[in-house]
Symmetry: C2
Subunit: 556 residues, 2 copies
């Protein structure tokens, strides 16, 4: 079954579950009228169905590759990218002053979801550019903004993020790439960066690398890191892509999935760069980029969950096997296939609702400046990233299982979903790091953002949800009182529990708005709440238990 | 870190947890002395480390392929197979009357575990042959036994299972392959079979296909199926591989993993076959083969879990990143990496203990003829298959996560474990079917086998385990009282809960025998029991909830 963009479902979640009406009611987003939203989702959905979905398998079978130092992208990807750019989908939320549409992040995420379902490997390209635009808007000089953002929005140029080095993965502070002043306001950037998604391509005039590096007088660790714009081609006097810069793609990774997305090792050899933001404040700028990218990656999990769900339903409806409840029924009439499909559906809905609620909070924070909205967006971001991607992986795995033997055969496409989505639990900060962010940084307010959410969810008339919310409140109080190691020991479970309680809340909210959804909501509650309880029990285990054995004893 | 066979761990689990001493004390298995067991595990382990493990990546990178109708196997696989055959590891448990060693299944499973850790794609070959030997021993005529079994044991010939057809997957009864009497005691077998693991190879003189087909007068469904031996080459007067039979490999599947194992579409065109067992009783014979193969596949999950665990520990110990608890520590000193590794270790142990306990029950049933042992083996088999393979998948996934970005890059090998093991949850009966077997057929005794296990586990002094056993007993009573649809609705969760309670029981038993294991046991209990409770809650949901929506409503 070919992918069909779930336009009306997205509309329902935005309107009835995520509270998008509040965003549309702000002055900042007054243009996001129901008619505009409909037009955007419908038009973007059509492009995904017709233009992008056919590229997904091509990218997998014909990976991007390096040819004499130049990246050759998968067949059709250039056309696909052009369609995304011409639709205006890259810069939907960018500032209109630089060619963007100034629309809410929630709409960008809705469109991103559909593009990612259609072709995740290609969607990663504009996602990187979107992150770069946000970082530039927040931190760059006017000159850099004016030079780069319009071309990034139009898709003439593409953006990348360069953080990781071989010895500096999750610990970005260990990076060694250096930037030395050239005396003319520019810097000479030298070093090697790895895991650079879409580090190069053959359809954009220029690739704009945002590179973390150290100035000569920099302190050690993260406080000595600065951010630089290092373009593949230096902008000429007219702002067009000119002379080649001293940088190159050394190699591309051979990956489990996302074959259509070139993951580069980049070499900078005294490449010309421009400082973005203050010296030594690169991490702050990078966090702007990463925080939004984190929600974007959570939405990638959602994208794959939706695509895998549609694929599995299509297969199940077509496949007849064994005696079913109803005469001549498809395998969807077998209890265990039914259980898997309903589970996939319930989980996909929960992720969509969570991602959209997170996006709404970010939009409200931007529109109103309200710190409570900002705190809510910050609190929900790591949950959306980790639960979204874990769910994408789980749903893709269940999708394989629904296919039986056909699930293991590459031709069906079921396995590709799992291969592609697997990295989303790793990049932009592993899901373990998301969980540590949640119990560390995001509970530094003493739990205020968490308790505000819990209070909202606790106002339900559903006794089962209310009881779970009470337990989660107790656990949150316990967490806030622990030292960091004990919090970290239970971080992943705390996040998993919170996500499932939120999921139940969102399902019940949907059922209240549309009684036809009551069945799925009941089913979801019957799974999410027991799972949340198991995670809550595990979350309290503490660090002592983890560190009772030495590393040597574990390895023995 | 290269794979190292966990010989002493296997010895510990056999002796102190799975009750292998009872097997060794029987007259039937009197040869399985401690010295013999040590020699076997040590010798097989050395072969796995030195000869087989280096083949694993080669098979993945150079898949078996079809060349002018002939299967060419991966580089080194022929030598690897020869080492397995010459070590006597194929027919360890086969009847000495036909060249086997007559050793307990538990030892075969221990050796299979190590071979599968070293190279799963190759290990699938002898696993198929082992199943065939068992089916022939139980059902074939003396002439067939004498012709085939010695050559299967020696590895001169290999065996396959041919059940599936495009329209007959999990519903074997829908198969259409026909067998018509030739008048000379042989049959002409005609039809197409798919998913034939190791359907051909270039290192055995003959491939012996056990094929399910219908006689002309056969009833519909499973009661009309007979089993035939259809060799690639017909045995000549001296019993050697002679003239080619009318069968061929049509194509090989392009799979997610197990690239070194050729998965064939087989075409039989009036091929000469011999009836194995009674006419129309092919399913019974096939179940002999499948039941043992199911435990064997559960052990494949264990194989990959152990290999992925070792690989992840090796990576974690080598990798330094970020500030750790101890100065200059590896990432194993980070709480969340520690949590993943301990979880992988706890789960791998639980699967090994379960698989070995299941094998011990099968051995005791064979040695004593006791129906209670037989019932225990039958009850534990679907749990070992499903929990073993689900755990293999989970541990391989966690192993990727421990590697961070490197986990998504194929060169590290972490991703191959996940790709290879994924099919084990599907073949030999999907894990959903295992769960239905458990709550259906395996509770047809009114729960007697389940209650016997629960009574044993309930005798613990550990209050937490005792409480969980009580809840599982209540759930079992509830299950037995339900109709089949309600049982099926909760089948997967019931199996998952039972496996985790068993896992806790086995960990505590290990801790009682070796106090150094108390930490891991406590950690395992703290995870398994909350998870078991969540699954128990889900197991009671019933079929009404699953079928409240129509298939169309779900697809809408």
């Amino acid at each position: 079954m070919p992918y069909r963009a779930p336009v009306s479902e997205l509309r329902f979640v935005l309107d009835k579950v995520a509270g998008f009406d509040r965003v549309a009611a702000t002055e900042a987003f007054a243009e996001a009228t129901p008619e505009t939203v409909d037009a955007i989702l419908t038009e973007a959905g059509r492009m995904c169905d017709d233009v992008l979905a056919p590229l997904n398998r091509k990218g997998d079978q014909h990976p991007a590759h390096l040819e004499n130092g130049v990246v050759r992208t998968s067949p059709g990807f250039a056309d696909g990218f052009r369609a995304i750019a011409e639709g205006g989908w890259i810069g939907m939320s960018a500032d209109p002053a630089h060619g963007g549409m100034g629309l809410p992040i929630a709409l960008t995420m809705a469109v991103n979801e559909m593009i990612g379902s259609a072709c995740l490997a290609l969607q990663l390209n504009p996602l990187m550019t979107q992150g770069q635009i946000e970082a530039l808007e927040a931190h760059a000089s006017d000159e850099i903004k004016e030079t780069y953002i319009p071309k990034l929005v139009s898709g003439e140029w593409c953006g990348t993020m360069n953080l990781t080095e071989p010895q500096a993965g999750s610990d970005v502070g260990a990076l060694r790439t250096k930037a030395e002043p050239n005396g003319d306001g520019t810097y000479a950037v030298t070093g090697q960066k790895i895991y650079i998604s879409w580090g190069d391509n053959d359809f954009a005039e220029n690739i704009c690398h945002l590179v973390l590096a150290r100035l000569p007088d920099a302190a050690e660790g993260t406080r000595g890191i600065s951010l630089f714009m290092v373009p593949k081609r230096l902008p000429d006097a007219d702002g067009n892509a000119g002379q080649a810069n001293s940088l190159r793609v050394v190699s591309l990774e051979h990956k489990l999935g996302l074959h259509g997305s070139p993951t580069a090792v980049m070499e900078y050899d005294g490449a010309t760069g421009w400082l973005v933001g203050e010296p030594h404040k690169g991490m702050a700028a990078m966090f702007t980029m990463m925080n939004n990218a984190r929600l974007g990656v959570g939405v990638q999990g959602l994208s794959v969950a939706e695509a895998a769900l549609q694929h599995a339903i299509g297969y199940a409806l077509d496949r007849k096997q064994g005696k079913t409840r109803v005469p001549d029924g498809s395998i969807l009439e077998h209890a265990d296939v039914r259980r898997m499909i309903l589970g996939m559906k319930a989980e996909t809905f929960a992720v969509r609702a969570l991602a959209m609620e997170c996006a709404v909070a970010l939009d409200m924070a931007k529109a109103t400046g309200d710190v409570a909205w900002r705190a809510r967006g910050a609190f929900l971001t790591p949950i959306a990233k980790a639960f979204g991607t874990d769910t994408g992986i789980k749903v893709a795995g269940d999708g394989i299982q629904v296919h039986g033997g056909m699930g293991f055969v590459e031709e069906t496409g079921a396995a590709q979903f799992l291969r592609d989505v697997r990295v989303t639990a790793i990049y932009e900060g592993t899901n373990g790091i998301q969980a540590m962010d949640l119990v560390g940084r995001k509970l530094m307010d003493g739990g205020a953002a968490a308790f505000a959410l819990l209070d909202e969810m606790g106002a339900t008339e559903d006794a089962a949800l209310r009881a779970a919310v009470d337990e989660l409140r107790d656990l949150t109080e316990w967490m806030v009182a622990q030292d960091m190691q004990d919090r970290f020991a239970g971080a992943v479970s705390y996040l998993a529990a919170f996500a499932r309680v939120l999921g139940t809340h969102h399902h019940l909210k949907a059922a209240a708005a549309d009684p036809a959804r009551a069945h799925l909501a009941r089913f979801a509650r019957g799974r999410f709440l027991p799972e949340a309880r198991a995670e809550m029990a595990k979350a309290r285990s503490g660090a002592d238990e983890l560190f009772a054995l030495s590393a040597d004893e574990i390895a023995a």
